[in-house]
Symmetry: C2
């Protein structure tokens, strides 16, 4: 029984969540579901109007949850649930003041991001963007094959190149899932530098357990400083969160220390990497290539963005 | 001591093989190395002239080794060595007649092709070509994000999708190396149809050993007929050789039987897949996507080729 006299609890859903999810809400007799049905960012005015009296609200990262919105909802509100791993768009202290619970999806993307991280490492090492461009532009028939044309630093180890060091900036769930996928490619050594925000890291017991799990393929796993991370990584995965403490950790100075044949993959947060420095590193071949899932300032990335213009 | 009176054995090298390889030949006092130094196909006339009296010849796949060439070489020739896995460009019976040995590189690309196979499976499942196109064309800023926009069938298993069946057409070294890399992505079942040329397959003992190696993650591994291969594979890898016996094994009939969300990867030989049928399958969405390392008629693939035009 709600305070406005109706017997149904109102839930506002800010994006159609598809046929697998929506019936979980819409088929219940005790819930009144109000849905923003258009497949674009939920209109703020619509939301402020419709949230009044809601018990719960389901959002994605485009909805700012601040005092204004919570006041518009009123005292019925019990839960804010966001379909995202991050919750930078939610003023958590305002929720706490009003005793509203927060739901988020911390682990749902772990495997997806690990998959993308491996994909980008393979693509950057193989110059996939460059080679696909050749085919797309119709240049393949005229392309002169040569034994080493378009070759890159293979991810897998081989007889003449029997070791691979993978580095991680940020060594949480996603990094662990990525490492697991890389083991059969022949990775021999793993180094990491923890997210500077992370509480109790490095974690000796966890590291020993991981090393034991992947032996004998994996020979070593150890925390290192950022200087060593830059110098020793054959493939470096940025899987650290955003925010001021990680901003531009990967800058010109860091990139200049990296190996000429190294590959950088950013599937963490765009702000960790200085885009201009990375474009310069690619242009001047300080590193081999980069695989980028996130970029500073996204989605405002136009076709003349320095990183879009770099084939590698 | 050669028949022409000089004390050095002549070796003709049809492509500069780079600073790791060439010194192995050029630094030896007992060998005269004659090299085609341009980074393009070795001129036939040059080759016919220079091969005379050679003891050995190092080629790549662009050099046709036939009676004409072997006669031009003369009776000193002992070895033809090709930097390739295939030897379709070499008339083996003519070598045998003259008692010339053949060197080739059967295993050197196993890991490389396995890496590419995994990369293409990830890219096709994630619509990488489509999404990179959006960024390249400068459409990202205007792109309307939605919870399921651009989502594809994730390679890794997940809570709501806990099983994955990978299929292999051709189940040799490269398929085994690909399977090994896929295990930590959560693959649960493996089915295969052997290369029709393959001698003693299926091989029960080998299969039991593989299954044992990847348990408990892998639940089953079994040979199947091609009909089952089409119907049950979530990701299908074509890793079979070319030639008449495998030509267009993947045709319209086969593709129509595949799952709507399946992904096809061809890193074997282009001729195994009927390109027109595959383009139709992608256009009409019989399957989710395709990752193609080889294509029938390559390198004569222009930008209006039906497969180049399909975003998936």
């Amino acid at each position: 029984m709600q305070s406005d006299g109706t017997s149904k609890s109102k839930i506002v859903v800010c994006r159609d969540l598809g046929p697998d999810v929506m019936p979980l809400l819409t088929k219940r007799d005790d819930i009144e579901v109000v849905t923003w049905t258009e497949d674009c960012v939920c209109d703020r005015e619509w939301l402020l109007k419709n949230i009044s009296g809601a018990v719960g609200i389901v959002i994605v990262f485009s909805e700012l949850v601040n005092a204004e919105l919570l006041d518009a909802a009123g005292p019925n509100l019990k839960v804010v649930s966001t379909m995202s791993v991050g919750y930078e768009h939610i003023h958590v202290s305002e929720l706490a003041k009003r005793n509203v619970r927060l739901g988020y999806t911390p682990d749902v993307l772990t495997d997806a991001v690990a998959d993308i991280s491996v994909m980008l490492a393979l693509m950057a090492g193989r110059n996939a963007n460059e080679t696909m461009g050749i085919v797309r532009e119709g240049l393949w028939p005229k392309f002169i094959w040569a034994p080493f044309a378009l070759c890159g630093p293979q991810l897998s180890t081989s007889g003449i190149s029997p070791s691979r060091t993978v580095g991680f900036l940020g060594f949480g769930r996603i990094s662990h899932a990525t490492l697991a996928r890389l083991i059969p490619f022949g990775v021999t050594d793993c180094i990491y530098s923890s997210n500077p925000n992370s509480a109790a890291s490095p974690k000796k017991e966890r590291d020993e357990a991981l090393l034991k799990q992947y032996r004998p393929q994996l020979k070593s796993l150890r925390p290192v400083d950022r200087d060593t991370l830059a110098r020793e990584s054959d493939v470096l995965f940025i899987l650290a969160p955003g925010g001021p403490s990680t901003r531009h950790l990967i800058d010109e100075d860091f990139l200049r220390k990296m190996k000429k044949h190294s590959v950088l993959v950013n599937a963490g947060r765009g702000t960790v990497v200085d885009s201009d420095a990375l474009a310069k590193a690619l242009r001047e071949k300080w590193i081999w290539g980069a695989g980028i899932d996130v970029v500073e300032g996204e989605p405002n990335i136009w076709k003349d963005h320095p990183l879009v213009r770099e084939p590698r």
